[in-house]
């Protein structure tokens, strides 16, 4: 059976896959193209179609997730605009660095190793810190993002960055005050890495906003998503100029992810912040393993390792999204749970 010229089984599969990705995207502010593009490649789509359709899907999902986070008061537009400016400049410089390495013939190896080390390193750092906090140091799920933060909730590196009072100073959501130049420096550094590695950068920006700028995790997720609306929109537009975006892939994926993103975004207000960090860290660690397996498969010319890598990524996505849903249900069942935000529209 076909609907709009697409097999019904494919429509159902894409919609279900979209639901899973949307949940993770709404919860973490990352993971879209990280999951979609490799899956489309394994399904036999052309690389340009896989990348372009992945980007267009990320753009659509980020619009939905950002709107939901806005409803929950978790988007700092001022911070988002500054991050876009600094990141764009950083990406350009990162790309130049990549071209320079390409001219030396070492880009492939350096980027692969840097990607795995960075992904694994951030994953390990976030997980270790969240587990060390043992629930006492984190911001609770019902923290008021407009109210002042407890100084103990701000990571040490962020406190150090906030201590440089170079005017003009900016007050951000969560009562955080930080120099505009420090925000631009953090944005530039994240953009540099993102341009150098050729990735969207959600997995770099979200922890950078929390650990370096010091905004609460839900605001870091919401603001990161706001930035992805622009980067995903521009990226998919550029690919669409060549006709590489396949709407038959994007439309059903988006139909599923729209629901998933709402659930994921609402879950950030329900699930304890330390749990968010643990899930994020585990996701990155498994992602690093999957990327390493895929790269090794390329070096020793074993295409089967591409499928193994995809199974690891999909397994991680399924595991972490199930854990998010389970934790949300558990929190809702506790008498003190704050449930107002899930229906705040």
């Amino acid at each position: 059976m076909e609907i709009f010229g697409i097999a019904a089984s494919l429509l159902v599969m894409f919609t279900g896959f979209g639901l899973l990705i949307g949940l993770l995207f709404g919860f973490f502010g990352m993971g879209g193209s990280f999951l979609v593009t490799p899956a489309l490649l394994v399904m036999g789509y052309e690389p340009s179609v896989a990348v372009a359709s992945g980007l267009a899907f990320v753009f659509g999902t980020s619009v939905i997730a950002t709107l939901k986070h806005r409803d929950l008061g978790q988007v700092d537009y001022k911070l988002g605009v500054l991050m876009i400016a600094g990141t764009t400049a950083g990406i350009e410089v990162g790309k130049q660095g990549l071209h320079w390495m390409e001219s030396l013939g070492i880009a492939g190896t350096v980027v692969s190793v840097a990607y795995v080390v960075l992904l694994g390193g951030i994953g390990l750092f976030v997980t270790r810190n969240a587990l060390k906090d043992d629930g006492g140091g984190g911001i609770s799920h019902d923290a008021d993002v407009d109210g002042d933060l407890d100084p103990e909730d701000i990571p040490d590196i962020a406190k150090k960055i906030q201590s440089y009072e170079v005017p003009p100073m900016m007050t951000l959501r969560g009562g955080v005050t930080v120099s505009l130049w420090m925000i631009l420096a953090v944005a530039f550094a994240t953009g540099l890495l993102s341009g150098f590695l050729g990735v969207g950068g959600g997995f770099i920006r979200m922890p950078a906003l929390f650990y370096l700028v010091g905004v609460p995790v839900p605001v870091a997720v919401g603001t990161d998503l706001f930035e992805i609306v622009f980067s995903g929109g521009i990226g998919s537009f550029l690919y669409a100029l060549d006709g590489a975006v396949d709407l038959a892939i994007v439309a059903p994926l988006l139909a599923g992810s729209a629901l998933g993103a709402r659930i994921g975004a609402a879950a950030t207000s329900i699930v304890d912040e330390d749990e968010i960090k643990v899930y994020f860290g585990v996701m990155l660690l498994l992602g690093a393993i999957a990327v390493a397996v895929r790269k090794i498969g390329g070096v020793i010319e074993m295409p089967i390792l591409d499928t193994v890598a995809l199974v690891i990524i999909m397994g991680a996505a399924l595991l972490v999204s199930s854990a998010v849903v389970y934790s949300s249900i558990q929190e809702l069942r506790t008498p003190s749970a704050d449930t107002d935000s899930i229906t705040a529209d």
């Binding site: 619009v63 998919s236 229906t343």
Partner: protein, 50 residues
Amino acid sequence: MIGVESLGGWGQAATVIGIVLLEAIVLYVGYGALEKLVGSKLIAAIRGDQ
């Protein structure tokens, strides 16, 4: 799928991005209405309230 291939370059790109954006907004509003309709009942059911 819906004939955007006949538009060239910028027109095609703008139409594709416009369709994705429109679908995203329609889905956001649609699922939002659904959430308002059944959200509180679903949460009450999860919490075991009657």
